[in-house]
């Protein structure tokens, strides 16, 4: 600064600097505020995605927990049961007959076909089960609630419209008229959808349930748990307590960290090439699914278990060693019990991830259409997330709500598992 530019006496340079800063301050504060708002907005946007996601799933799925039933009065005509073999009796015919007797004015063949279509094909099996359980029904007339067809169900839930061009509608005018008349007679009812929780997969939406998929997931996860928990814990114990700091240990650690980030579909390729093609294990079975998920879950469990072992203070180990226990006894008798809650928490979180994972199961063929409910680890099965994927691909409108409902069940399982992990952590957490 040259002499001539020096400020007059009385005004120190300090003050002009303050002034300069003061001039700038509003702008800087504005920037500060803007940034703060931006951050808040980011959090709000992220959370609103969450709300939007849950809203859209629940909004399109909650109706699936109720299902429409139609009351028929069926006459178990003795003539229909002439044969000894019960399964040979014409149960679909009985259903049709009862529908005809309700709407005697329908005569035309095409109209009759439409009439039969308002009741689910499963109605015949309902009748068959009833007669098989109680043969005395033969000859009597019974009022029986049977499943309505999925289109009727969708109509009553307001998900398909009764307006517009008839040719473009799933339900035709006369079908709408019959449904209205049935409703007026109180012969149509919606009830809690037990089929959804007790049945396996089906091509007919009204008969499809998640039981088979849930059991498939259960068996797969059982295998995963039985293998990945002991192996993961033992690997973590070795790496944390025994492993010398050498190349081999380093290789293992780098491997574990990398495996934790390998895309899950790659594990599916591994399962397909090694377990199915090389070892000749059966396709589509929970045992292969469980093995693949084990390999996927192992890194998660190992990393969590190591963190848990690390949090046990060295004083515990020193005390045990000091009174003469061997290294192995120290770990098994003293360190492991203290680290176990943390390991269990990690395992539950790993299992929750395994429950939600779909891609590797597609690779090993757990995507087949399987109606039967699997009874063991070697029965062909699908899994809950794969069932969701399969239903999401189905064109029928009624499968959309089933998909959403299955997602709600899956999320409920995940929430329970994660809540269990949190509770476990809270309950057994030790602040050293």
């Amino acid at each position: 600064m040259s002499r001539s530019e020096r400020p007059p006496i009385g005004e120190t340079p300090q003050r002009s600097l303050t002034e300069k800063i003061g001039k700038d301050l509003p702008r800087r504060y504005r920037a500060e505020k803007r940034f703060r708002r931006l951050g808040l907005a980011a959090v709000i946007v992220a959370l609103s995605f969450l709300v939007f996601l849950f809203g859209s799933i629940i909004g399109s799925g909650y109706t699936a927990f109720r299902q429409t039933y139609i009351e028929l009065s069926v006459t178990f005509d003795e003539a229909a049961f002439a044969s000894e073999n019960l399964a040979a009796a014409d149960f679909p015919g009985l259903v049709k007959q009862s529908l005809r007797s309700m709407f005697p004015e329908v005569r035309e063949r095409s109209a009759l076909k439409q009439l039969y279509r308002i009741v689910s094909p499963s109605a015949a099996y309902t009748l068959q089960d009833m007669v098989a359980r109680n043969p005395n029904l033969i000859g009597s007339t019974q009022k029986i609630w049977v499943l309505a067809d999925d289109d009727v169900d969708m109509l009553l839930k307001g998900q398909i419209s009764s307006e517009g061009e008839e040719a473009n509608r799933r339900l035709k005018d006369n079908q709408l008229a019959w449904i209205t008349s049935l409703r007026e007679q109180g012969r149509i009812e919606t009830r809690f959808n037990t089929t959804f929780f007790t049945a396996g997969d089906s091509r007919e939406p009204e008969q499809a349930g998640i039981r088979g998929a849930v059991m498939g997931s259960f068996f797969s996860l059982l295998i995963t748990l039985l293998l990945s928990f002991p192996i993961g814990v033992m690997a973590a114990i070795y790496l944390e307590e025994f492993a010398p700091d050498n190349l081999w240990t380093n290789i293992i650690e780098v491997n574990i960290n990398n495996l934790a980030a390998v895309p899950s579909i790659i594990f599916g390729l591994l399962g397909l090439a090694i377990f199915i093609n090389f070892f000749g294990m059966p396709r589509s079975t929970p045992i292969v699914g469980g093995l693949v998920l084990t390999l996927m879950t192992l890194p998660v469990i190992i990393i969590a278990s190591r963190a848990s072992l690390k949090s046990v203070p060295p004083s515990i180990r020193e005390a045990a060693l000091g009174i003469g226990s061997s290294k192995m006894q120290t770990v098994i008798h003293h360190v492991l019990p203290l680290a176990l809650p943390g390991m269990l928490t990690g395992t539950i979180i790993g299992m929750a991830r395994a429950l939600g994972d779909t891609a590797p199961l597609l690779m090993i063929g757990m995507i087949a259409f399987i109606v039967d409910i699997p009874g063991g680890v070697t029965d062909p099965a699908t899994a809950l997330p794969v069932q969701i994927f399969l239903w999401a691909d189905s064109p029928e409108r009624a499968f959309t709500e089933k998909t959403s409902a299955a997602i709600m069940v899956l999320l409920a399982f995940l929430i329970i598992m994660n809540a269990a992990a949190v509770i476990l952590r809270k309950k057994f957490e030790i602040k050293w």
Partner: protein
């Protein structure tokens, strides 16, 4: 005897061995100067006897299970009529399948298939023999090795050292599983990929611009000889990952900065777990959300502005994938921001910088390597993500940068090429493994760099 029962038998043997071993140790001790004269605890002797009883027998049983199917098939083949023996491997495996189905009772052969019925009976017979043989061998082995160890139990036997040595070997074996898995992955994708590259040259695959893996079934079909230029597939993957990162990086990073630098304790304890819920939702749910809600929304918006938007647009898949990755970016960056020492923050604030200036000029530059590492991990996640793109992205390989068009990705192609196909000699299914190879090594590369960067960065401030 069935395998599960055999395991149960081994368990019973183990319990028995434990009791006997412990008793023998006590007896030896009492005879020779009391329990203090024993080298190890009595339970160690028990454990040693258990190891002797179970370990060799168990190894044999596992080995047997692995070898049994191929030996049985070989024996079966020798017993089949000569005209069947001349069949090719794939045709022969079909016959074996038939036989196994007959054994399982899933399939009843026709009258002209007596050979299969006979073979099935033979199969059952062979399996019975094999099972009995296994049971016998396992029991014998367990008995012999138990007896050997049992006899050697004296006060000076160093049982604890041996048992702990075995246990440690088991621990090492378990930790080596990570290496086995990696080797398994590399081998499984590599072998099939090499077979693929024998049919389709590697440079065609890596640099070719045309992807249509559908092969002609008959020789006289035209137009579909299969083209395996994977560039459009890679480009589609990159496009969707790019869209995802455009969504996830700003939102994730800003939320991380807000939550760690600005938010009150209360807001943080509520918002953080909620964000983590986003990370815990299965990807198949995001896929359904993308296909059912987001894609139609974007298409309708596009119609509104007279834009031709495909119903399987890259935008919908990328957007939803971005949402999925937000918590990933935010939690990784938050960790990194936390690692920036408080002294840097205090220094900057003491100089009169506002918080925003502190974040912009001090914290983010200091945390940048860690943030970059986190972003790289997120990119690798986006590239390997499968279900969202399978459900919301397209199948046709378009080489385009237009986010409103349908593109396909590596993972989508792997799924479509492999689901439902059991043949492993066509380039179509082998192509999936070649794609898997590229995917594996690319994500491995990203992860490796990211982990190194993050680790280096952590060390810097520790």
């Amino acid at each position: 005897m069935d395998f599960p029962y055999l395991l149960l038998l081994l368990l019973l043997l183990a319990i028995g061995a434990y009791v006997f071993g412990t008793r023998k140790a006590m007896a030896v001790a009492n005879a020779g100067g009391g329990i203090r004269s024993l080298h190890s605890l009595p339970s160690h002797y028990g454990a040693l006897t258990v190891v002797a009883a179970v370990l060799p027998a168990f190894c044999i049983a596992i080995l047997w299970q692995a070898v049994e199917p191929s030996v049985l098939t070989g024996l079966l083949r020798a017993g089949l009529p000569p005209e069947t023996q001349g069949l090719s491997a794939s045709e022969f495996s079909l016959i074996i399948n038939d036989i196994k189905n007959v054994v399982a009772g899933n399939f009843t052969p026709g009258a002209d298939q007596t050979a299969i019925l006979e073979a099935a009976e033979r199969y059952i017979e062979l399996q019975d023999i094999s099972d009995q043989l296994l049971t016998g061998i396992v029991l014998l082995l367990a008995a012999v090795s138990t007896a050997l160890v049992y006899r050697r139990i004296t006060v000076r036997l160093r049982a604890r050292n041996i048992v702990e040595g075995v246990l440690k070997a088991l621990l090492i074996l378990c930790s080596a599983f990570a290496i086995f898995t990696t080797i398994g992955i590399v081998l499984s994708v590599l072998f099939e990929a090499i077979r693929f590259f024998k049919i389709v040259p590697a440079h065609h695959f890596l640099f070719g611009l045309d992807w249509s893996p559908q092969m002609a079934i008959r020789a006289d079909q035209t137009g579909s000889s299969g083209a395996f230029g994977a560039v459009p597939v890679f480009a589609g993957t990159m496009l969707i990952a790019l869209i995802a990162m455009i969504v996830a990086i700003p939102i994730g990073l800003l939320s991380a900065i807000f939550l760690s630098e600005y938010a009150s304790e209360r807001l943080r304890t509520i918002a953080k777990p909620l964000l983590e819920i986003l990370a815990g939702i299965p990807t198949v749910v995001y896929g359904f959300f993308a296909a059912l809600t987001v894609a139609p929304l974007i298409r309708d918006l596009g119609l509104h502005f007279n834009l031709p938007v495909s119903s399987e647009s890259a935008l919908a898949a990328g957007l939803v994938m971005g949402i999925m990755i937000i918590p990933f970016v935010s939690s990784l960056s938050e960790d990194v921001l936390h690692a920036v020492p408080q002294s840097l923050r205090d220094g900057s604030l003491a100089l009169g910088a506002t918080r925003f200036e502190t974040v912009k000029n001090v914290i983010v530059p200091a945390a940048l390597p860690g943030i970059v590492g986190g972003v790289l991990l997120a990119v690798s996640r986006a590239i390997g993500e499968t279900m969202i793109v399978v459900m919301a992205a397209g199948l046709s390989a378009n080489l385009t940068a237009n986010p409103f068009k349908a593109v396909t990705t590596v993972t989508v192609q792997i799924v479509t090429l492999l689901v439902g196909d059991q043949e492993f000699d066509s380039p179509k299914t082998l192509a999936a493994f070649a794609l898997g190879l590229v995917l594996f090594f690319f994500t491995l590369f990203l992860n490796f760099i990211a982990l190194r960067v993050v680790q280096k960065y952590r060390e810097q401030y520790e």
